[in-house]
């Protein structure tokens, strides 16, 4: 056994021991409770008539609805799955909202036999899994290891699929399929869909063609076909960026730099405040000089000698201050993210602290 394996073993054993000890003290740790709500919704009359009439998309939809309801329940409490029901005129399902342990305790105290607020196993397992993933990624700080690699592989797989799913349901379905197959989208997904205009349909056919050409890239042959949609993306992006950058980052920034070099600051009585005026004027002078000097540093068509060289040197100093400020802000940001993860471990998982008063500690 290598030294590293031994260290892992010791660390793991200590950690499990601490976890077991924590679980036996006080309220325990890492549980998620949910409150059940029964929802019954009446189907619109037209839909009921349609469903009774023929095996339309709606009829299959109703079946589908009850199936998906059962799946929701299976996610929460498998035993309750059979209670899902769907009749010809109504459809019903159960919804679970996360509640605090405090609410669970209160409900139990009022009625120990209550079943409205219960422990959610899927969410509790999820919470422990989330804690495992957090620790797996932190374990990279000690050394690269299989736990980290598993977490890393999961991030890639889940994220790619997640983005694909969101792109499909949020953009492709309402925009492209909504324009090309409005009947289907209306009956299955979005009954409120507005009938598409002709121009909209034409542009979506255009988008579909470009999309298919883009996906051609995945095939072993004919990769050049994907250059057409790429050209569209490059062209449109260039057209968008030219105008916006010149307008907001060139013209507007140049205008914002044209500041008065002497500023008179008056106080409430209308008298000039000498100190404030001096500081405001200095700020403007430093700002204008700074922009000019930094631009001089970026101006490579002239050799950096003499006045230009001096200005460029001052420009470098300004840029160094800029980078120092960026460093400070970056550190601040990363620490905030770390604090959020540690809060998750201590609060949501280990129940060591209770800043949100969820458990009444």
């Amino acid at each position: 056994m290598t030294r590293q394996s031994k260290t892992w073993l010791v660390l793991g054993a200590v950690f499990v021991a601490l976890l077991v000890a924590r679980g036996m003290i006080g309220q325990g740790l890492g549980r998620v409770y949910v409150k059940r709500t029964d929802v019954t919704v009446k189907l619109p009359e037209a839909a009921v008539n349609n469903a009774a009439g023929a095996p339309s998309a709606l009829a299959s939809g109703s079946t589908n609805a009850s199936t998906t309801t059962a799946a929701t329940q299976a996610m929460e409490t498998p035993a309750a799955a059979s209670t899902a029901s769907s009749s010809a005129t109504t459809i019903s399902w159960q919804e679970w909202k996360q509640v605090t342990p405090l609410e669970f305790n209160a409900a139990q105290k009022a009625n120990p036999a209550q079943t409205e607020i219960t422990l959610s196993w899927p969410r509790t397992i999820g919470l422990w899994l989330a804690a495992f993933f957090t620790l797996a990624i932190f374990s990279f700080l000690y050394a690269d290891n299989p736990f980290y690699k598993i977490a890393e592989s999961l991030v890639v797989g889940v994220s790619a699929a997640y983005w694909g799913v969101i792109g499909f349901w949020d953009t492709l379905v309402p925009k492209m399929f909504g324009a090309l197959t409005p009947g289907l989208v209306k009956s299955l997904v979005q009954p409120s869909l507005v009938a598409p205009e002709k121009l909209q349909q034409i542009s979506m056919i255009f988008a579909l063609i470009l999309g298919v050409m883009m996906l051609w890239r995945l095939l072993p042959r004919g990769g050049w076909i994907s250059a057409w949609p790429l050209a569209f993306i490059v062209g449109v992006t260039a057209g968008l960026k030219i105008v916006s950058h010149v307008e907001s980052d060139l013209m507007a920034q140049a205008a914002a730099t044209m500041k008065p070099l002497f500023v008179s600051v008056t106080d409430a009585s209308g008298a000039t405040n000498m100190w404030d005026s001096w500081w405001a004027s200095v700020a403007n002078v430093l700002l204008v000089a700074g922009v000019i000097c930094c631009l001089a540093y970026f101006f490579f068509s002239v050799e950096h000698k003499g006045v230009v060289g001096g200005a460029a040197r001052v420009g470098i100093w300004y840029l160094m201050i800029t980078f120092g400020a960026s460093f400070g802000f970056t550190v601040m940001g990363r620490i905030a993210l770390l604090a959020a993860r540690v809060e998750f471990l201590f609060d949501d998982w280990l129940w060591l602290i209770d800043p949100n008063h969820f458990r009444g500690l």
């Binding site: 969101i166 916006s244 905030a336 949100n356």
Partner: protein
Amino acid sequence: MSSGNFNNTNASVRPWFERLDRIDRRWIFLLMFLAVAGPILWIGVTGKTLPEAPTLAARAVFEEIDHLPARTLVLISFDYDPASAGELQPMATSLVRQCAAKNLRMVFIALWPLGNQVAQQTIQDVIRDDYPALKEGDDFVNMGYQAGNEAVMKLLLTDFAKAFPKDSRGEATSNIPMLKDVKMVSDFPLLISISAGYPGSKEWVQYVISAYNEKMNFVTGCTGVSAPQLYPYFPQQIAGLLGAIKGAAEYESMVNASLAVDGVATPPKYLQAQRRMGPQLVAHLLMVGLIIVGNMIFFARKRRGAA
């Protein structure tokens, strides 16, 4: 990793700076963890937070929202995902809380694929839990996510409904009561972006605000990484700016003070940013300490080299 792998086995004769310089970086990692974990535990147990003095940029955000008349339409763009929520969620919570308390009509959109989910969660935590009287479709609406980044902004310039054809419930934009007078983005007097990068605050300035600077005001909350790059836009193009968790804490304290009720403590979920300033303080001190020690090593070695 170089734990204990000194080239010279006689480590004890090395000068202090050499030994310190070769310290295993995992000790630094441990110090950082303790610097963050310690204050979290302390604040978690005592519930105490540090006082905040709002700066000009954060005050401007508060005032931009505060001076709007009730029922004004506000467009709130969630341009971040859970990876940056540690920094941005406290801002989002307070921004939505101030808008809800002012009875502004809020339209949520997302330009990041996971932004819709974060928006949904914020709506639940703030609006549904604490302002249940606000009605979806009349007082607030979540239009969800749309792909396309700056092309979505371009579309918003001329046709809001085309850019966001439905809300997250599946209701067509044209059927949503609060949007019946909205044709384009300039129909929103105020735009708020909570942004973690691209596309986000910078792109909103470039594609929307530069086109409608006189009709619309723009305030933003952003991550520490992007805040320095947004300062050149302040205050001409960005009226108010919340930079990183410090900006969030300043703004949060202002919103809490404005909504404080005598004898009623601020709900702890509205103190997230101020709580996070505790670990921030200790970790920043550690960073400063590490840089100082690093330089002491540098100068000690230089002096020895010169000698």
